[in-house]
């Protein structure tokens, strides 16, 4: 029990450190204060992971001093900006509480739900066993391998496709940041590095709905996400613990929330926040690369048309920085010969053969077969139908079309990937459909909440 309590303290310290570092990064970007605060913990954790990657590449040894010294210097140098950002976050939380005066019951229920579920998740993440296939074979395996070598190098297992070598390394590097600090591999802590992402999800839902939704609607969408069995399998039960899908789902949510905000405020800095979130997603899983590309195109179109000189230049710079790690990883994979199972016979060639129609029917049949109101799929499908109704027919003023587009392209990319899959389609679907559904569900919940909100969003600021 003492071991578990110590692990909880370590994860809390890790989350707090990630938040501070990430808040400095997002404060430097600016934009919506609430979304910048929500993005802070995942961004800070990712910066620490990226730091290890860079140090490994230039042969700087991985140890607590080399890992923590640069962020400490950064925090010291940016302390006044950080203090200001933290003060604004605190004031924002107070204002949120004051504004809920008219519906205190909903506010208390919302806070209680968050405290109960986040505490349960935290406890489960450190005490549950590590037993999920890909967590063992891919993410935590690579974390061990990287730690042992002190660098991101998959050379020792290059012939073993079972480890899906072309997957981006960020999630394993997140585990490594904790391993480096505690001085060795810990399966408990490795699984729990998702916690900065876990807390970012309700924060994002709250701040993204704050301007338009009633306290009751905000609370509903946070509670739906917190209690959804599909998510519990990643953070409460051991089934999928150690997978990167939950973290990716939170980043998809942050991208959609930032694009929706940017469509209202027309502030390029909100698009920049979306780019940062999409870059993190792209380094977590390959699915995130589609998200990054879509977000970049939407940003290019919007900021290119509306933006002014400085806003455009900053957005371009952040766009280049967002693509840099993804491009670097692609180059490393190419040069080193890293492959993933899914890429072996893929490369979109199967989209052109004659079996494409029957595969499309197989995919849709499978999806319909598993859809039921006794599992999450039936509810997700109704939510999709409602969001489409709001978007296309009802043309809800609160629903940013660009945000819907980002999510729609993501879902379309999943469908195309299935069509092009070299794996047996039933095997592929039965092992991934629930995780892909999870990736888009929090963003879908957000869109539903925005669309059904009674207040019209007010445009603020200018490019």
């Amino acid at each position: 029990m003492l071991f578990a309590l110590s692990a909880v303290l370590v994860v809390l310290a890790y989350t707090a450190a990630s938040y501070l570092l990430g808040r400095l990064v997002t404060a430097t970007i600016g934009g919506s204060q609430g979304l910048a605060a929500a993005l802070a913990a995942p961004a800070g954790a990712s910066v620490l992971g990226a730091e290890l990657w860079a140090f490994g590449a230039i042969h700087v040894p991985w140890n607590p001093l080399t890992l923590l010294l640069p962020p400490a210097i950064l925090l010291l140098a940016g302390r006044s900006q950080l203090r200001h950002a933290l003060g604004s976050d605190l004031e924002g939380a107070r204002a949120w509480w004051r504004e809920g005066r008219g519906d205190r019951v909903s506010s208390w229920l919302l806070v209680a739900t968050l405290v109960v579920f986040l505490s349960l998740y935290m406890w489960a993440l450190v005490v549950q066993p590590l037993e999920a296939n890909d967590a063992i074979a891919v993410y935590m395996f690579k974390a061990k391998l990287f730690l042992t070598q002190g660098r991101v190098d998959l050379g020792p297992v290059i012939r073993d496709l079972g480890h899906n070598l072309a997957y981006p390394p960020l999630y394993s590097l997140l585990a490594d940041t904790v391993y480096v600090v505690v001085g060795g591999v810990s399966d408990s802590l490795g699984k729990a590095v998702v916690f900065p992402f876990v807390i970012a999800a309700p924060l994002t839902l709250l701040v993204a709905t704050a301007r338009t939704a009633t306290r009751r609607i905000s609370g509903l969408c946070v509670a739906i996400w917190a209690t959804m069995p599909l998510g519990l399998y990643h953070v409460f039960f051991a089934n999928y613990m150690g997978y990167a899908d939950y973290a990716l789902a939170v980043m998809v949510l942050l991208v959609v929330a930032s694009v929706a905000e940017a469509e209202t405020t027309r502030d390029p800095r909100d698009y920049q926040l979306a780019l940062v979130a999409a870059a993190i997603a792209a380094m977590l899983k390959n699915e995130g690369q589609v998200l990054l590309l879509t977000t970049a195109l939407v940003t290019l179109f919007r900021v290119g048309r509306r933006g002014r000189g400085e806003g455009r230049a900053r957005t371009l710079l952040i766009g280049v920085m967002a693509f840099a790690p993804v491009t670097a990883w692609k180059l490393v994979s190419l040069v080193s010969g890293y492959h993933a199972q899914l890429n072996e016979a893929g490369d979109l060639g199967r989209l052109l053969d004659s079996g494409i129609l029957s595969r499309a029917i197989d995919i849709l049949s499978f999806a319909l077969h598993v859809t039921s109101f006794t599992n999450d799929f039936g509810w997700i499908l109704v939510a999709v139908a409602l969001v489409l109704e709001f978007t296309i027919l009802n043309r809800s003023p609160n629903l940013a079309r660009a945000a819907v587009l980002v999510l729609a392209v993501q879902v379309l990319a999943y469908f195309v990937t299935y069509l092009d899959s070299p794996l047996d389609i039933n095997f592929h679907l039965s092992n991934s459909l629930d995780r892909l559904a999870l990736q888009v569900t929090p963003a879908l919940i957000l869109l539903l909440a925005l669309a059904s909100s009674p207040t019209t969003r007010v445009s603020e600021g200018s490019p």
């Binding site: 005490v127 066993p129 296939n133 063992i136 739906i224 039960f237 009802n394 669309a451």
Partner: protein, 148 residues
Amino acid sequence: LLVPSLLPRIAIVFAALWLARNLATDVQLMPAASALSAPFRAPLATSATAPGDNWQLSFKDLQGRLAATDDVAVQARDRDISGDAILWSASYWLFPHHVHLLTLGETPTSAVVVVVTSSAGSSPPAGYSRMVLSRTWPDGAVGAYRRD
């Protein structure tokens, strides 16, 4: 199609039903969470093999009892158990040892055994944890842990 003015209300009612369904399902799932009162310990050890509905996989303990140079092999005698699953798991838990699969036999009740083939390997430790491979892998997945 739905009447536009009613749509937000319909969405909110739907969201409330969705939440109620989630909570009802969570309550049903709670018995599976009873193990949360005891933290797990990861390292695996050897165990006696036991026939049954599941297959047992026995691993050497990692707590300093294997030398880094030991050559570790996995021996399986059931074609229904994926060699990939064994290797994935074994290579993780026994990391950084090089792990390789020895045989895939046909005896239906035999277990999967991990053996140290190096002469420098130490004797198995006392106490054990189980690793269970379901016949229906990958749906059954693997379980590998010991709780305090």
